[in-house]
């Protein structure tokens, strides 16, 4: 007890910056990526296995794809999803652009943006139920195609707006003055200067709107009436008829192969191409 000073040797208790954190971070990242992508890969592998319900890939065949293309049950839901997705994508891109162009001119856009983004955190169930009542009693829509489209639009617009804001907030308004100064009419300034510069954000907003709509289930359940979109159809099939499940594997794999490139294209447009200009 008399020799207190001897105990204070080199202290290695710098826990916050211990080098093991770096190692842990790296391996945890890899593990999480595996958790995300392995099931997807597994799904694709099972879709080309002859007995997917066993859960183990093997004895590969394309027979479920043949069954999928032979069946026409999924055609209507698929077309409905595509058409609703296109409408939602287009309308959200246009409205997000119109709104997003004005935001930089606002004195304090913060509160308004918060209100716009809030729906992202409203539980899909609440939103679905609310829209269920709204579209029937206020808009007077029969539940079906158009009520689904309205629900998807409400869901997709905040995302589209956020994406458009990436480009509108960094758009330099002196470019518009430069265009006018060089003799361009307002329409030419928009067409030649502003639109091409905002274009990556607008296209991305449209793509994202399409994807948000294409993948939506929760709100659709409330708003669909008797209509079916593809995710709903998939889900109903998976829940009800065991024999149909293999086809769903094939269909989900196809959807995945379409969705991933679309998402990649969006990110490329938004971040790679935009940074080049």
């Amino acid at each position: 007890m008399t020799d207190m000073t001897a105990t204070t040797g080199p202290v290695s208790l710098e826990t916050s910056y211990n080098p093991n954190w770096k190692r842990l971070g790296k391996w945890m990242g890899i593990a999480m990526l595996a958790l995300i992508y392995f099931p997807l890969l597994w799904l694709v592998l099972l879709s080309i296995s002859s007995d997917p319900l066993s859960g183990i890939p093997g004895a590969f065949s394309l027979r479920h794809y043949q069954a999928l293309f032979a069946s026409s049950d999924w055609h209507m839901p698929f077309v409905a999803s595509i058409v609703i997705g296109l409408i939602v994508g287009l309308v959200s891109a246009v409205t997000a652009t119109v709104i997003g162009r004005e935001v930089p001119r606002m004195a304090s856009p913060g509160p308004m943006l918060l209100v716009f983004v809030l729906p992202l955190f409203v539980p899909g169930m609440s939103m679905g139920a609310a829209l269920f009542i709204f579209s029937q009693s206020v808009l007077g829509l029969d539940l079906g195609f158009w009520s689904i489209a309205v629900g998807h639009y409400v869901w997709a617009l905040p995302f589209a707006l956020l994406i458009v804001l990436v480009v509108t907030l960094r758009f330099d308004h002196t470019l518009i003055e430069a265009g006018r100064d060089l003799g361009a009419s307002d329409w030419r300034v928009f067409k030649d200067i502003e639109f091409p510069i905002l274009m990556p954000g607008i296209v991305s907003a449209g793509l994202f709107g399409f994807l948000m709509s294409f993948n939506e289930v929760m709100r659709t359940i409330f708003l669909r009436g008797t209509s079916e979109t593809m995710p709903v159809w998939n889900w109903v099939q998976a829940a009800a008829q065991q024999s149909q499940v293999p086809i769903i594997f094939a269909l989900s794999s196809l959807v995945l192969l379409v969705t991933l490139p679309l998402l990649s294209a969006m990110f490329w447009l938004l971040f790679v191409r935009l940074n080049r200009t």
């Binding site: 003055e177 006018r180 100064d181 060089l182 003799g183 009419s185 510069i197 080049r276």
Partner: protein
Amino acid sequence: MKDMHSEPMLEVSNVVHKYGRVTALSDVSLSAAKGEFLTILGSSGSGKTTMLRVISGLETPYSVNRLRIGGEDVVGLPAAKRNCTTVFQNYALFPHMNVIENVAYGLRIRGRTAQDSTAEAKRALEMVQLGAKADRSIGQLSGGERQRVALARAVVTRPAILLLDEPLGALDERLRQDMQLELMELQRKLGMTFIYITHSQEEALTMSDRVVLMKHGRIEQSGAPLDLFDRPVTRFAADFMGYENILDGKLLRKDGEIGEVELVGGAVVRGTLATSDIQPGGAINLAIRAERIGPVAADEDGLDATLSNRVYRGKYTDMMVETKAGTLRLRSWHGAPNEKGAISRVGWKLSDAVIFPEHKG
């Protein structure tokens, strides 16, 4: 000397402009002749940029009596329809177009064919020595190169007036000096009227045929660069043009251009009157540049002085001396004989001390 009596290229009279309750321009009138290099000089908030924007049409003035470009009345005419172009402070190049597309844009807007406008744009780029970089994207250019592209883009349509909004502000010292010479060269070659905005007295003096000094939305003084440099008529002008010593006093006697002044502290000295409208007895300021003051013999005109501080600043040495009229600053170039010598009395040439009326407030 250029002919300043022909039909003016730019005529502005009595512009008033307000941003909300802030008056940016109060009753400013201005004119520029064909081929004149006119500089509007002023600190930030002086209204110089507003003036430029009013001329270009990017700002609609609160009221204006007369606004003519090349003899044509442009009041109410939008920027796109005015025969003038602007070189913006941040260049405002179109990032999604390459160099040649940027330069050709004004020509394309005027309905010229792609081939024709590209050829013309190429000539303009060669004029600013960027012919080799026509196909580069804007992001690949240095600040100085962007500056040249902005210049080429603005002159390619042959406007009557070129408006330049502090175009050299973002460049480093060396490049700025090179660009000053190039701008003068370009202006002479094109014979175009340049209206140039800057806060740098050095740029204004180097390039201009005429300088307009602005303060708080009014014209403080205008004239040839040398007039402003040697004969400021107000304390603000003297201060802005770099006069280090501005002393208070009153005028005792006038003898033609020469005035005799009693400075605060009682010393009597002489200098040159900047204007004739000062009467003996009136409060005045006497302004002298630090490098125009030097040690003199005991029997010469001047002030007794004792050296209080000496600061070596590289190219020159600054010395502070105490006199009856207060502290004066002297500057001697490195290597000059009085750089290290003792000082007991300081004086100046009569033409180097400027006397102008003191304005209160």
